[in-house]
Each structure stands twice: as C-alpha cells, then as structure tokens.
C-alpha cells in the first residue's frame, strides 16, 4: 500500500515538474525574443562594429538575409523553436560557433566558480546564522548582523572591485583577471594556476549569498528556539548547544536547503557581474557579450540553459524535503 502510494506520488510529482518546466521554458523563450526584438541595438551593426563604414547597404542586407534577420520576429521564433526541437540551438553570431558548444565551454568555466561560491556561501551563511541565532542579542550576534546587513546592501560589482583592489592590486596575492596566466595555452594550465584564478571571483560571488543565508538561518533558529519542543527539551535539562544539535539543526535544515537552492539563481545572476569585473571567461561574461551585440540565439540559449539549471536545482530541493521532513510527501499531498 505504502509503496504504491509512494509510486503514485512520485509519478504525479514527475509529471507536474515536467509540465511546469515545459511551460517555463516556452515563457522564457517568448519573453526573451520579444524583449530582444524591442532592443534598439541592430545585430548587423553590432556584428560588424567599427567596419560599418566600409560595408555597403547591399552587403548589410545580405548579412541580414543570411541570418534570417529580415524575417519578422514570429517567423524567426518559430524557426528557432523548430530547430531546437531537433536539438539544434542555432549558431552564435558573436562566437561563430554552435550555441550549444559555446554554452558547454563557458559553463564548464563558470561551474567551478559557482560551485565554490555556492558551498562557501551555504556553509558560512549557515554557520554564522546559527551562531547569531543561538546567541541572539549578544555582541557576537550584533557583529554578525552588522556584517550581514552591510554585505546585503553593497552591490556585487563593488564588492568584486574592492576584492580585486585589495588582493590583486595592493597585496598582489591574486591574479588581476582571466582564467589562466597570460600567454599560457589552456592545455598547459596547472590545477593550482587554475584554482588561483578561480578563487577570488568565487569568493566575491559567495559574498552575495552569505548575508541572505545568515539572516534567514538566524531568524529560523530563533523561531525554533522559542518553540514548545525546545522549551520541553530545556525542561529535560538539555543544554543550548545540544538543543541546536538535536532539534535546531533538523528544523532549520529544510528552510536552509530551500534557500540554498533558491540562491542558485542569485548566484547565476551575480556571476554575470563578477565575471565582468574579473574578465573571467565564463557563462556570465558570454551573456553580457550576447546581450550587448544582440546575439539572439546565444542569449536565448543561455537564458534557456540557466532556467533549466535553476529549475533542476529547485527540483533537487523538492526531492530532498521528504528525506528531512516525514510529513512532506512527493506529489504535493501533505499527510496529517
């Protein structure tokens, strides 16, 4: 009975998730297409750049025709959709490479940075939040909160620039840009060189997430510490740190995981700015180029891909819930 109920739940869950994903992707694609068609940037001009004067209007028209830019937006959209269904995401105008290849390459570079930033912000945020929540009102709580509020209100690119100035310019312990030392072929980059170039952008990126996670964890822990079951634990003689260990941790884990996966989209957004500041050749940097030069296929591809990425993250979080909270079941029914 139980197994069968679980199976049904899982099937409903999968069906719901897939349906929602489909709708989300269509919406994202339409939205991006419409936004870009309203953009004042002419892709042909953006492509040719400074050589514009030397190219005749006929040649420009030829380029436009070659790329299908003379077609109305809806026919370009249908075209693109048809190709996509066959697994072809189109060719990037900026990189002159298939979009899927550009994304794969750039994402590899970004992924490591995102992963480091994600773990760092999750661990530090959770740790700081627990300390602040447990010692609510003490000086250490005030210090952590001050730190979190300061971080939360400083723009990402500013933090990134500050780190760059301090560590790369003043102390010269970190490289000033890029993913590898200049003049070294990508095949010859050692692991340490790689990490060396990765670390500062990753730290800059993680700082965005920390403040949010810290403040949320702190609040949630305070709520838990004021609950009836913690009162009862105190009545049994449980100490504060053991209360956190046995009850606090369990009960803040669920919101923490939700937040951690939700922060993926923020990190993704943050990486656009951070990669720009550090000239790090990741997906974020490619996004900026694609947007500035009206590279519709690449931009839509990236938007598509990031939606998929964030959605997968959230689905993983959903899958983790029933493992932590037995009251939650897949497929939406909450038994009680």
């Amino acid at each position: 009975m139980r197994i069968k109920a679980l199976l049904i739940g899982a099937t409903i869950f999968a069906a719901q998730k897939l349906l929602r994903l489909g709708l989300l992707l269509i919406a994202v694609a339409v939205f991006t297409f419409v936004l870009l068609s309203l953009s004042p940037i002419d892709p042909v001009k953006a492509y040719i750049g400074a050589d514009m004067m030397q190219i005749s209007p006929e040649q420009q028209a030829l380029i436009a025709e070659r790329w299908g830019l003379d077609q109305p937006i809806w026919s370009r959209f249908l075209d693109w959709l048809g190709q996509l269904l066959q697994g072809n995401m189109g060719t990037s105008l900026v990189f002159n490479q298939p979009v899927s290849q550009v994304i794969a390459l750039r994402f590899q570079a970004s992924l490591q940075m995102l992963a480091i930033a994600w773990f760092l912000s999750g661990l530090l945020g959770l740790g700081l939040g627990i300390i602040a929540g447990a010692l609510q009102g003490r000086w250490i709580d005030r210090l952590i909160r001050l730190y979190a509020y300061t971080l939360a209100s400083s723009p990402t690119f500013w933090v990134a620039l500050l780190l760059l100035i301090v560590f790369a310019v003043s102390f010269k312990v970190a490289p000033i840009c890029c993913a590898a030392p200049p003049g070294v072929l990508s095949g010859n980059v050692t692991f340490w060189q790689h990490l060396h170039h990765l670390l500062l952008p990753a730290v800059a990126l993680s700082i965005i997430g920390i403040a949010n996670i810290t403040l949320h964890t702190r609040q949630k822990l305070i709520d838990v510490l004021h609950s009836d079951y913690v009162l009862f634990a105190q009545a049994q003689g449980e100490s504060l740190w053991n209360i956190i260990r046995y009850h606090g941790f369990r009960n803040i884990l669920l919101p923490a995981i939700t937040l951690q996966f939700a922060s993926l989209s923020e990190l993704f957004g943050g990486s656009v700015l951070v990669e720009q500041v550090f000239a790090y050749p990741g997906l974020g940097e490619a996004t900026v180029q694609a947007a500035l030069r009206s590279d519709i296929p690449l931009l839509v591809g990236i938007v598509f891909f990031s939606a998929l990425f964030v959605y997968t993250g959230n689905t993983l979080a959903d899958l983790a819930y029933p493992l932590i909270d037995p009251r939650i079941q897949l497929g939406g029914q909450r038994s009680l």
Binding site: D228, Y229, L231, F232, A233, Q234, A235, Q236, G237, E238, Y246, H247, R250, N251, I324, D325, P326, R327, S335, L336
Partner: protein, 309 residues
Amino acid sequence: MLSISNLGVTFTQYDQGLRRKQLAVITDLDLDVKAGEVVAVVGASGSGKSLLAHALLGILPENAALSGTMRFKGEILTPERCRALRGKTIALIPQSIGYLDPLMTVGGQVQRVAQLAGRAKAEASASVSKTFARYNLSETVRDRYPFQLSGGMARRVLVSTAVVTQAQLVIADEPTPGLHPDVVVETLNHLRELAVEGRGVILITHDIEAALQIADRVAVFYAGTTVEIAAAKDFLSGNLRHPYTQALWRSLPQNEFIPVPGNQPSPEQLPVGCLFSDRCDWVSETCTAERPQLRELRSGWVRCVHAKG
C-alpha cells in the same frame, strides 16, 4: 517533598519609550506536595499555574525575577538547583504532542530524555522499551514521528517521557483538554499510578472535575496567588473555605452552572488588598486594606479574612 511559600515572579518589561515596567505575575504563591500524593493546581488561565511549573523547572524567561522560597526535600531550590534537578528528579509531562520535535522519531526523543536523566545509551534504550511496553506502545511506535500518533498514543508517549527519568516529582501540565473522554480517564489513571509508586504529582489543570477524580488535594490559584488548599473530598462535602473556590465549584455544569462574574485583576494594576475583592460578595474594609495571609482553617488553607471555621 516540595514546599513553596510566598513565591513571587516578576517580569521586567520595557514598553515604548524604554520605560521599565514590573509585572507581578505571581504573588504569594503557596503549595506543598508530599511523596505519593497527587496535588491538583486549578485556576483560570493567567492564574500562574504554568508559570509555577516553569519556575520549578528553571525555564522562566530571562527577564523574570523570583522571590519567596521553594524547598525540595528540605533543600532550598535556587535557579541553579532547579537546573540541576530538572529532567532527573523533577520531570515535566507537557501539554500536548506539540512539545515533541516534529522531525525526530518518538523513540529517539524518549531515549534522549532517558539519557539526559543520567542513563547510559543501552540502559536508556532498555528503559524506553520497558516503559513503552508498560503503556501498551508497540516497539514500532519508536520509529514513528509525532504526527503519526493517535491522541491516546500521544498521551502515553508523553507520560513515558516522565517515567523513563524516574523523577520523584512529576508535573503534568494541562494533560486533559481536547481529549476523548476515555483517553482522559486513561491519562488520569496513569498519573494516579505514578503517585501510587511513590512519586509526588502536580496536576496543573483548569478542569476541576478531572482534578477531583484523582487528586488528594486541590490548590486553587487566583491571579498568581494561592487562595485555598483543600482536600478533594471537601468539594463534594461542601467544606470549601474561600468565596472564589465556592464560586468556581458552583459554576460547574452539574452544579448550579452560574459563571463567576468579572475577571482576574491584571498584573499591571493589582489591588492593594485582597486580589479577589472586586468580585467578592463578602468584601469589607479589612479586605481592601491589606493582602490577607494564608491561614489554616478546617484542616485546609485559605487566604481570606472572612472565611469562618
């Protein structure tokens, strides 16, 4: 075993403008409990019943200040002593399943209570098994989560938390509301059994009827003070001393069902004299001049100047 005299609990609060306010939530509370006895503490909400339990367990909020004396087995109960005894010698049976961690198995939690009471892991596990068996809870219940328990099971699990500690004083906080009548009887019998085994039991409740079924004595609280301590049989024999106890007794459905008019005074503006004076039919000038002392009367205790022998 336990004797409390003139207990006072005052909360310090800051209202807007950072003015300090002292809220006397408990004033002159008296209670004594002997081993093997069930003492019911009855009173409306806000009468200080639950705060008494919190004071005994040392879990009052940080802004609370205590006065008066509490003695446990002859020794003065300081807040430090309370903290040392709780979970070992003094145990709480909480109000509802909401006092268990929703994300931890029932067995795990009761096991933890046993360990906190000073048992080693294996011994604690054995005592959980024994206690669960005693209360007809199968071994599979250990793996359940609180939300998976029926009302009756939940009550038995909560009683188990006190039994695995081997505490000598058990405080049961409002164990009966919202339960099926059969479960109420069962729960009360479990508490009675604990007393028969030699423990002292404090039954905190607003349900006089339930209290009378198992209590030896009843302490009636009003606005944070003990107005009367009577034997359970005094209720049926009409041997009640304090006008509030009498009014409370009359207000029961099977009696005259006349509600007691008025409300308890708020802790922000307690009268100088008797706390019950604004609702009392016998009030006189002596009553409002100063607080009446608790005095012995007809082998019980009463805090009223006009109660007669």
